[in-house]
Amino acid sequence: LTPVYLARNPDVAERPFGDEMLVVLLAESRLFCLNPQAALLWRNADGRTPPENIVEKAICREYEVEPAEALADARAAVEELAAAGLLRLSDSPL
């Protein structure tokens, strides 16, 4: 697995509602609703922590899921969030 670092697009407005998160991409006026797992990825996307660590430290502890399963879900979520323009990805810390 190539290391991938995640950073939030700074040009957004966000608001947590319970475990979920609403995020608006301001330039496009597009609104996204992140489910609890995606919201955890979002909150921890600091540009320095790879998703494996986020999965291990945040998602697996919170939801008691198997690391392999959680990581697969996280990769899919990261791809979606990046495709939407919410996350920036890099193979080195951002």
Partner: protein, 267 residues
């Protein structure tokens, strides 16, 4: 309506207590507004916006309405009118073809700009007052706003069947009547009341109310707020307003059959 000079009329339309004054030399504009905004024309010395209206062809007509911002000035262009609004300066102008309902579009844009500064907004929604409480019904075209409005029993005062005026008031919100109507073809009553609930409308086989998650509620409000530009800062402000609204006001889904009994649930 006052006639301030030999060729100039001046009158004020006030929605939700926010006055907008029009100045024009065109008698037809006065007559059109007198019919369209009956019940909302007031006397006011301190308008939030003063708009000069002239009858002249737009310099750059375009088929669909376009709203663009340049500095603090918003430019609206359409096939039969063009307008500029400067909410900070409190001024605006409209050039419209004879017989155009341009003022109604400009007024909606103007109010959406004025309200955004106060955490208030226009919502694509019907609204009504019953027992001193306002109920707001939002949904896309066809969701049932006009249908439900037409079914309202006599003890219900309709605020609008199309565009609701929503503004913060203390820890809650109030809805005010608007002259902006849909298929009902007539303005709402010029009254206001504290909002009891927002309902997301859809027609169905039975009358029922269901709870709605806050995220869904906020998404529905964002979809239905009237705003005409995609600038980041206004979008940020609208999102904040929508989030505040759904945390202050109960939001539910109203599924209803097109029958007056649907109003039995609205009290």
């Amino acid at each position: 309506v006052s006639r301030s000079t030999a060729a100039s009329y001046r009158f004020t339309v006030s929605v939700g207590g926010t006055p907008v004054t029009f100045e024009t030399g065109a008698r037809e504009v006065v007559e059109w507004c007198a019919g369209r905004y009956a019940g909302f024309i007031v006397g006011s010395d301190h308008p939030a916006l003063t708009i000069h209206v002239s009858i002249a062809p737009p310099s750059r007509p375009c088929a669909d309405i376009e709203v663009r911002r340049s500095g603090g000035v918003w430019r609206i262009t359409h096939a039969d009118f063009e307008a500029e609004l400067d909410p900070d300066g409190g001024r605006g102008s409209v050039r419209q073809l004879p017989g155009s309902p341009a003022i109604d579009s400009v007024l909606r844009v103007g109010y959406s700009l004025l309200l955004a500064r106060r955490g208030a907004f226009l919502l694509h929604a019907a609204s009504a007052v019953r027992n001193g409480k306002a109920f707001v019904f939002t949904g896309v075209s066809g969701a049932g706003k006009t249908t439900l409005s037409r079914l309202a029993p006599p003890d219900v005062s309709l605020l609008t069947d199309e565009i609701s005026y929503v503004m913060p008031d203390g820890g809650g919100y109030i809805a005010a009547g608007t002259p902006f109507f849909g298929e009902m073809g007539r303005p709402g009553e010029n009254i206001s009341a504290p909002i009891n609930s927002l309902y997301l409308l859809n027609k169905g086989p039975e009358n029922r109310i269901d709870e709605v998650a806050p995220t869904e509620a906020c998404q529905a409000v964002m979809r239905n707020i009237l705003f005409f530009a995609e600038d980041p800062e206004p979008v940020r402000a609208l999102f904040a307003a929508a989030c505040r609204f759904v945390t202050a006001v109960p939001v539910r889904r109203l599924t209803f059959r097109p029958e007056q009994a649907a109003w039995d649930l609205i009290r």
